[in-house]
């Protein structure tokens, strides 16, 4: 069994919990529907966002140069990193220069992707994640299971127990309000003593050289404004050409992510405070490679809203951790094979190809079509598991000849009726794992047609 299927199987073992997870995410999907339905020109807005991103990808070099020039003019220091290791070294270098030992960080999928926390911890630098969901999973020593709601897989009882052990809350306390209050006190103390703040970036504006960070908790701002030095890490695809394009993306992001008309805080950073430093790290880490893959390049348009996860019937019933990737769900399944085809070759198969992900995507990425494209790419590169390879080869052989197809069709219709159960439901029959085979029809369509034809004439 593939890695995703194995982990999904384990996730589904607790049916009650799997149903709860499914329903929590579907509730967010419904909120998204209500929020998007309130904008009459929602579809035009998606078209516009998609068009802007297409244009950016085709002119990314020019926009990066324009962004850098304006950022430098604003007194910001700009760094370039080809990969995760370079990114981590740059951030570490800035922190060392400032003798920073205690760092607060708001949500950034890029730093997750680069494993920045692990790198800095090895260097003896403490990193505190300040988004509540991220802090919870950091204390649990788990990766996030969702890009917008990192702790969506956890029950309040588990968080209560964790906070009791780590933050000294009352034993057995599970009230979200009480637990959030405890985290507020815990994190406010960290903000006060921090030596540096790191954030992700939602949008970087080429014409102004500024960046925009969106949060609901205000944790990015608490971190940045209270720390002596601020560092913003971003993938190179986060660029938008003009400030006016923020109108398009801020209208789409919150509604698509959680059904809010906008995130609570949309912060625009253009210059450091006098006497302080502001750094921006531009990271490639496989993005230019993805740009070169014609069929997959528009996955780089993603604004990380998570809508494709909330709607996905597989994600909702397998949990984010089953994907084994920083970005899980449908978008993760088309991004990760480009990073490591061998390691993530099972993810494009973790889908029914129903297309719901593409329907909700605010920048109109054809996610389900790319999942199908990746499957073909994986077969071409001989990364299919043996069971799939064998069954596909047999199916190809049978379907290539009408005579063979007729013979095996007839055989299967009979055999399914009298074969003992263990011969039908076994290791090689993935279909039969969670469901019964359909009842075999008495005759094929062709046989039925032959019988019906004389009556017609």
């Amino acid at each position: 069994m593939s890695q995703h299927a194995t982990k999904a199987h384990a996730f589904l073992a607790n049916e009650e919990r799997a149903n709860w997870h499914d329903q929590s995410l579907w509730m967010v999907r419904e909120k998204r529907d209500r929020a998007s339905g309130q904008i009459p020109d929602w579809e035009q807005l998606r078209d516009c966002a998609s068009g802007i991103k297409d244009h950016v990808l085709a002119n990314l070099d020019n926009y990066l140069e324009e962004f850098e020039a304006h950022a430098l003019a604003n007194g910001v220091q700009v760094h370039w990193a080809r990969n995760a290791a370079e990114h981590n070294t740059i951030v570490e270098g800035i922190l060392r220069k400032h003798n920073a030992r205690r760092v607060v960080k708001s949500k950034s999928m890029l730093t997750e992707e680069c494993q920045l926390n692990e790198h800095l911890h090895r260097q003896g630098i403490e990193v505190i994640d300040t988004d509540l969901g991220e802090r919870i999973i950091q204390l649990l020593e788990e990766p996030p299971s969702h890009i917008v709601m990192p702790a969506i897989h956890l029950k309040k009882e588990e968080i209560g127990e964790l906070f009791h052990q780590k933050l000294g809350t009352q034993a057995g306390a599970t009230d979200p309000k009480y637990l959030t209050e405890a985290a507020r006190h815990h994190l406010r103390a960290r903000f006060m003593e921090s030596d540096a703040a790191i954030t992700g970036v939602n949008f970087a504006i080429a014409e102004t050289g500024g960046i925009v960070v969106c949060t609901n908790e205000g944790n990015a701002d608490m971190g940045v404004h209270l720390a002596p030095v601020q560092i913003h890490c971003m993938g190179i695809e986060k660029i938008i050409p003009k400030a006016e394009h923020l109108g398009v993306f801020t209208r789409l992001l919150g509604r698509s992510a959680t059904g809010q008309p906008i995130t609570v805080f949309t912060s625009h950073f253009h210059q450091p405070e006098p006497g302080r430093e502001m750094h921006i790290v531009l990271v490639d880490n496989g993005r230019t490679e993805q740009l070169g893959r014609e069929k997959f390049r528009n996955s780089l348009k993603c604004i990380r809203c998570g809508a494709c996860m909330n709607t996905c019937p597989i994600y909702r019933r397998s949990g984010g951790h089953s994907y084994g990737a920083t970005v899980p769900g449908p978008i993760g399944s088309i991004l990760t094979p480009g990073q490591d085809l061998k390691r993530y070759s099972d993810l494009p198969f973790a889908s029914t190809l129903c297309g719901s992900c593409s329907d909700v995507c605010p920048v109109k990425i054809n996610i389900h079509e790319q999942l199908y494209e990746w499957r073909q790419e994986i077969a071409r590169q001989h990364e299919l598991p043996a069971s799939k390879r064998l069954s596909m080869r047999i199916a190809g052989w049978v379907l290539a000849s009408p005579a063979r197809y007729r013979f095996f069709g007839k055989w299967a219709r009979r055999a399914l009726q009298w074969l003992p159960r263990w011969m039908v439901y076994h290791r090689l029959n993935a279909w039969g794992k969670g469901r019964e085979m359909p009842e075999p029809p008495r005759q094929s369509f062709k046989e039925w047609y032959q019988n019906e034809k004389p009556k017609q004439s």
Binding site: S24, M27, C48, G51, I52, D54, H55, A58, N59, L60, D61, L64, E65, H70, N74, W80, R82, L132, I136, M149, K156, P176, K177, T180, A183, R184, L187, F191, T208, E217, G218, N219, D221, M222, H225, I236, A243, E244, H245, L246, G247, V248, R251, G254, Q260, P261, I262, T263, V264, F265, T266, S267, H268, E273, P274, G275, T288, G292, E294, R297
Partner: protein, 198 residues
């Protein structure tokens, strides 16, 4: 080759042909009832609002509505008085840790989502609207626009070193999707609507 040169070269070798940049929707006429739409959005965002005429004397209003608070500050010298301290610009952000209520002014409001634009010029310190326990924002009613497109038509974000749209109190739903106000930032937001210039 530097990382910068390497990345730019990689892009130039791989980028596709450029489609034109789409046109962004232009500003709309402010429709009738824009103020009530804005107020509805504020409520949905978990904020509250009052007309400025309902305030009367700031000192007694604050005492009545924020009975558990002691440390009231404002960036607006004209509001300062007994029980409400004027806060001049400061670079010592951490000195604001005990602020209970901060009163500042916003430049623009957005009807579709209740967001209020606060540029650095309105802030004695960038951290003030986040670190304060409770936030009070003053907004002239003739500065309300319909959508974010309109907002960015009037706002040039690079004309201020830092600026933020604020839409309600700090929130989280990270524990079982239960909405809780007062995550890391302000626990409440009160918007005081001022009559616009006639």
């Amino acid at each position: 080759m530097s990382a910068r040169a390497h990345i730019l070269k990689a892009i130039r070798e791989r980028r596709p042909a450029s489609p034109p940049l789409p046109r962004v929707p232009g500003p709309q006429q402010q429709g009738a009832g824009i103020q009530s739409r804005f107020c509805e959005s504020l409520i949905l965002a978990g904020a509250e609002w009052v007309p400025e005429s309902a305030i009367g004397d700031w000192g007694s209003y604050l005492q009545k509505h924020y009975p558990d608070c002691q440390n009231f500050v404002t960036a607006l010298p004209e509001l300062a008085g007994p029980g409400l301290q004027f806060l001049p610009a400061t670079t010592d952000a951490r000195s604001l840790r005990n602020v209970d209520v901060a009163i500042i002014k916003g430049d623009w409001g957005v009807a579709e989502n209740g967001a209020i634009w606060v540029p650095q010029e309105q802030l004695p310190a960038r951290v003030l609207p986040f670190i304060t326990q409770h936030l009070i924002l003053l907004l002239p009613t003739d500065k309300i626009v319909e959508t974010m497109h309109d907002a960015y038509h009037y706002i040039r974000p690079d004309t201020t070193p830092f600026g933020v749209f604020i839409a309600g109190p700090s929130k989280t739903a990270d524990i079982e999707q239960s909405l809780v106000k007062g995550a890391q930032g302000a626990r409440s937001e009160l918007v005081v609507l001022q009559p616009g210039a006639a």
